[in-house]
Subunit: 117 residues, 2 copies
Amino acid sequence: MGDRDFDVQGFARDIHELLVLAALRDEAKHGYQIALDVETDSNGLFRFRHGTLYPILHRLEEEGLVRGSWSKGGGRRKKVYVLTGAGRRHLNGETTRVGEIVSRLMELLRRPGEVPA
Amino acid sequence: MGDRDFDVQGFARDIHELLVLAALRDEAKHGYQIALDVETDSNGLFRFRHGTLYPILHRLEEEGLVRGSWSKGGGRRKKVYVLTGAGRRHLNGETTRVGEIVSRLMELLRRPGEVPA
DNA sequence: GCCCTACATGTCGCCGCTCGATATATAGAG
DNA sequence: CTCTATATATCGAGCGGCGACATGTAGGGC
């Protein structure tokens, strides 16, 4: 089991990384688009400031979880990212792990004390 | 609605604060005991380093969510904390809020690829 | 009596991360 | 030709956790 212990800082970072990977699950997108989509899909709950987003994208690319390429089509210069195989596996695996952690967390927080409901 | 947007840093901090408040839900405890209990209750998943725990306790006391008093009984000097009314309300309210956030998060992360028409 | 470990609390500096500010550049509207 | 939205990038400030350091006590083994 993934019983390695929990790192709060890494957890916050992971949430952002996973939101990016999830946004790329179905189609390739450039950074700005990812930010817009995450905000739309979450009804404004989750949002990326660009000072946060771009460094994350660079990090993910370095780790081989996404691959970016500059689109040279006549329009604006955009760096389009696609999910790699490793990225997709990471997304699935970490989603499961995060799901287990939050489920255990909520269990502790909601535990109604000595009186079992 | 609680549609104010999401702060990752505050979220990580809140998790630690809520774990402390939850540990105090049923009985008053001193800091060291809180650390041991959280670790035990979570099977080692969540743990507090004391360099993290004590500052949090001080912060919670300043905010009036817990009240601490030095136990003078013959034993070691311990600062015993009890949950205040405000602390209990905070625990319940924030637990609900965190629950909603993680539920929306997992929804986004687990969303099976939209089947493109 | 003495040492060593577990208990118990506290502070401080480093590091990693987010965020706002700043910079640069282009497309399209008016 | 200016103004705004698009689009990417970097840097400094600030926040928060973590490891290290500091301090002191209780109790068991010898």
